[in-house]
C-alpha cells in the first residue's frame, strides 16, 4: 500500500516536472545574459543574475504596454459584461413577460456559436465604423456574454422572493434592490464568471490578431507574438522577460485564489 503510494507520487512528479518545466525555463532564460542562453549546456540557475532583460522588456520593448492594454481590455470587457448581464439575467430569471421564451432561446442559441464564425462580419462592422486598431475594437464585441446571462440567471433564480419583497417594503427602488440586495447574494457566481471572463480575454489571441495591427494597442498574447516574430531570434532574454510579465498576473492570482479559479475556468465546460 505504502509502496504503491510512493509510485503514484513518483509518476505524478514526473508529469509535474513536464508541467512546470516551461515556467522554470522561462524564468531561467529571462534572468540570463545572452551568452548563457546560446549555449548547448543546460543550467537552470544563471551563473550571473541579469535583470537587464526585464529592464529592456519594460523600456525598449513593450511589455508594460502589453500589460496595461491587457488590464484595460479585460477590465473594460468585464465591467461592460456585468452592466449588461446582471439586469438582463435578473429580468429573465424573475419576471413574467411575453417575449421571455424567445429571448431565452436567443441566449441559448448564442451559446452554440463559436467565436471564429462571427469574426468576419464583426471585423467588417468595426472596419466600417473606423474602429479597427482601437481599444473599442477589442472591447465592444464582447460587451455582453450569453454564457454570463445563462449562468447568472440560474443564480438569480435561487434568491428568495421574500428578500426582494422585503427590500421593496423597506423602500428600496428596483435598481437599488437589484444591485445592492440581490447581487450580493450571488457573489460566488459573479466572481466565477469574472474569473472566467478575465482569463479568457487576457489570453485571447484570435480576436486581437484580427483587429489590432499596431504594437501600441497589442494585448499580451498578440504583443508577445509580434515580439517573437520581429526580434525573437536575437532578444531571447527580453522576450522571456516579457513572457514572464504577461503570464505572471494570472498565475499569481490563481495561486492565491486556487479554488475560485478552478471553479471559474471550468465553468466554460458548460459552454465549450
Amino acid at each position: 500500500m505504502r509502496l504503491r503510494n510512493i509510485l503514484v507520487n513518483l509518476a505524478l512528479a514526473a508529469g509535474g516536472i513536464v508541467m512546470l518545466l516551461p515556467f522554470v525555463w522561462m524564468l531561467s532564460l529571462s534572468l540570463k545574459p545572452e551568452n548563457e542562453i546560446f549555449t548547448p549546456d543546460i543550467a537552470f540557475l544563471p551563473r550571473e543574475w541579469d535583470f537587464a532583460n526585464y529592464v529592456e522588456a519594460w523600456t525598449v520593448g513593450y511589455a508594460g504596454t502589453f500589460v496595461i492594454n491587457g488590464i484595460v481590455v479585460t477590465l473594460g470587457i468585464l465591467v461592460l459584461q456585468y452592466l449588461t448581464i446582471v439586469p438582463a439575467a435578473y429580468v429573465l430569471a424573475r419576471k413574467r413577460f411575453q417575449l421571455r421564451g424567445l429571448i431565452m432561446s436567443t441566449v441559448l442559441a448564442v451559446l452554440l456559436i463559436p467565436p471564429q464564425v462571427t469574426a468576419i462580419p464583426v471585423y467588417m462592422m468595426l472596419a466600417e465604423a473606423r474602429l479597427l486598431d482601437t481599444y473599442a475594437a477589442l472591447i465592444i464585441p464582447f460587451a455582453t456574454s450569453a454564457f454570463g446571462i445563462f449562468l447568472l440567471r440560474q443564480s438569480f433564480k435561487t434568491v428568495p422572493q421574500d428578500l426582494i419583497d422585503a427590500a421593496r417594503m423597506d423602500g428600496a427602488s428596483e435598481v437599488y434592490t437589484l444591485w445592492f440586495v440581490v447581487v450580493p447574494q450571488v457573489f460566488p457566481a459573479l466572481a466565477a464568471f469574472g474569473i472566467f471572463s478575465v482569463v479568457t480575454h487576457w489570453n485571447d489571441f484570435f480576436w486581437p490578431l484580427l483587429v489590432v495591427t499596431s504594437i501600441e494597442r497589442a494585448t499580451p498574447p498578440l504583443g508577445i507574438s509580434i515580439f517573437a516574430s520581429s526580434e525573437g531570434g536575437t532578444e531571447v532574454g527580453a522576450m522571456m522577460a516579457t513572457a514572464t510579465l504577461i503570464v505572471m498576473p494570472l498565475v499569481i492570482a490563481f495561486l492565491i485564489a486556487r479554488r475560485r479559479f478552478v471553479e471559474g475556468v471550468t465553468l466554460s465546460g458548460i459552454k465549450g
Binding site: 428568495p160 421574500d162 428578500l163 419583497d165 422585503a166 427590500a167 421593496r168 417594503m169 423597506d170 423602500g171 428600496a172 437599488y176 445592492f180 440586495v181 450580493p184 447574494q185 457573489f187
Partner: protein, 384 residues
C-alpha cells in the same frame, strides 16, 4: 391609530380566483388574524395590503384613503416575512437600519460613495438614535454587529421584528412569523408578540394556518377558505357560534364530531334516536322528507352514560389519550371516529376494545343544512 378596510377585494392569477370579494373592517389598534388552510388566499390578501401584489378588483383603504395605487414603501406598512427575509450580507444593525437608510438621498444610500457626503455622520447618528432603542426593546442590542447567519432562529425573528418596528408603521403585517421556530420558542414568542402589540398600540394583521396561534393572540379572527371569508369574529364566537360547517370543523381540537341526521317532517332521526321540532323549512323551502342535515357535537358535548339511557349510542373505544387534566376517547361508530372529552378518572380502567355508551348534550348541538350552512334558529330537543 389607523385601521384598514377592504372593500370587495378580489385577486385573480390567470384563470384562478385566489381571493374573492373580501370585505373587512379592521379598527385601529386591533389584532386580527387571517386564518385558513394553505391555499385559502390569506397570504395573497396580506401581500395585496402590503402592495406586493396588485388588486384585481375592489379597494383597500387606510385611514379613509385608498392606498392600492401606492408603492409598498409609501404605505407606511411594515411586514414580517415567514422566512424573516433578513439581508444575509448586512449586519443586524444594517438590517434594522435599512428602511431608514432608504429614506435618505440617493448618494447616501450607495455603499462607498456615501463616504463623500459631508453630513453623513449626522444622518448616521440620527439613524442610530432610532435603531438602538428598538434593538434594546427587543433584546438584540448585543447582536448588532453579527450577520444573520450567526443568529439562532429566535434571534433572527427579533431582528425581523425590529426592522419592521423601526419605521414606526401604522400597520404591522405578519406572515406566519412563528412557523420556523421550534415549539417551545413559539409559545414564548407568541406571548412577546402579544406584549409588543399592547405596547405599540398599532394595528396588527397576522396570517397563520395554526388555529392555536389565532385563538390565543387575536382579538378577532378572519377565517378564509378558497379565497372567501367564512366568518369574522372573536375566537369564542368562532368556536361557539360557527357560521357554517367549515368553520365548525376548522376551529377546535380535537375536531368537532359531525353526525348525519335524517329529517322526516317535524321529526329527525340519528341512529334510531328521534328528535322533535325539526325546522319545517330551510331558506324558505319546506324541508323535504328524508333531507340530510348535519349535527355538530364538540367532544365536550358528548358524555358517557349507561347503555340503557334512551339516547345512548355505543361503540368500541380504540384510542385513549390521557392528557392529565382530561382524557380524550376515540370511539368507532359506523366507520366514523367519535371524540369524547371526559374527566381523567372516567378514563381509568378503560382499555381499547371495550364498548362504551355515550349521549349528546342536545342543548349544545349545532345544526347545519345539507350545504353546511348553520341553522341557528333551531334548537334540537330530543323526544323523551
Amino acid at each position: 391609530m389607523t385601521g384598514i378596510s377592504l372593500n370587495a377585494v378580489s385577486k385573480r392569477f390567470g384563470a384562478t380566483d385566489v381571493v374573492r370579494d373580501v370585505s373587512l373592517d379592521v379598527a385601529g389598534g386591533e389584532f386580527v388574524s387571517l386564518l385558513g388552510p394553505s391555499g385559502c388566499g390569506k397570504t395573497t390578501l396580506l401581500r395585496m395590503i402590503a402592495g406586493l401584489e396588485t388588486v384585481t378588483a375592489g379597494e383597500i383603504c387606510m385611514g379613509g384613503e385608498t392606498i392600492q395605487h401606492l408603492s409598498p414603501s409609501a404605505r407606511n406598512i411594515a411586514m414580517v416575512f415567514q422566512s424573516y427575509a433578513l439581508y444575509p450580507h448586512k449586519t443586524v444593525f444594517e438590517n434594522v437600519a435599512f428602511p431608514l437608510l432608504m429614506q435618505q438621498s440617493m448618494v447616501l444610500r450607495l455603499p462607498w460613495l456615501r463616504h463623500l457626503v459631508p453630513n453623513r455622520h449626522r444622518v448616521d447618528a440620527e439613524i442610530a438614535a432610532r435603531v438602538d432603542p428598538v434593538c434594546h426593546l427587543l433584546g438584540i442590542d448585543h447582536l448588532t454587529a453579527r450577520k444573520p447567519a450567526q443568529l439562532s432562529g429566535g434571534q433572527r425573528q427579533r431582528v425581523a421584528l425590529a426592522r419592521a418596528m423601526v419605521r414606526e408603521p401604522k400597520l404591522f403585517l405578519m406572515d406566519e412569523p412563528l412557523s420556523n421556530l421550534d415549539a417551545k420558542l413559539r409559545a414564548a414568542t407568541r406571548a412577546e408578540i402579544i406584549d409588543l402589540h399592547r405596547r405599540l398600540g398599532v394595528t396588527f394583521l397576522y396570517v397563520t394556518h395554526d388555529q392555536g396561534e389565532a385563538m390565543t393572540m387575536s382579538s378577532r379572527i378572519v377565517l378564509l377558505n378558497e379565497g372567501r371569508i367564512q366568518q369574522v369574529g372573536t375566537p369564542l364566537d368562532l368556536y361557539n357560534d360557527p357560521a357554517n360547517l367549515f368553520v365548525a370543523e376548522f376551529i377546535g381540537l380535537p375536531k368537532i364530531n359531525v353526525l348525519d341526521l335524517h329529517a322526516d317532517g317535524k321529526e329527525g332521526r340519528i341512529d334510531g334516536i328521534v328528535l322533535r321540532e325539526m325546522p319545517s323549512e330551510i331558506d324558505g323551502v319546506p324541508t323535504p322528507r328524508g333531507a340530510q342535515l348535519h349535527v355538530g357535537l364538540r367532544p365536550e358535548a358528548l358524555q358517557l352514560c349507561s347503555e340503557d339511557h334512551p339516547h345512548a349510542m355505543s361503540g368500541p373505544v380504540h384510542i385513549i389519550e390521557h392528557l392529565g387534566n382530561e382524557a380524550i376517547l376515540r370511539v368507532s361508530k359506523d366507520a366514523k371516529d367519535i371524540c369524547i372529552r371526559v374527566q381523567p378518572e372516567q378514563a381509568i380502567g378503560l382499555s381499547p376494545g371495550r364498548t362504551v355508551s355515550f349521549r349528546p348534550a342536545w342543548e349544545r348541538a349545532l345544526l347545519f343544512d345539507a350545504n353546511g350552512s348553520r341553522l341557528r334558529a333551531t334548537r334540537l330537543r330530543a323526544a323523551a
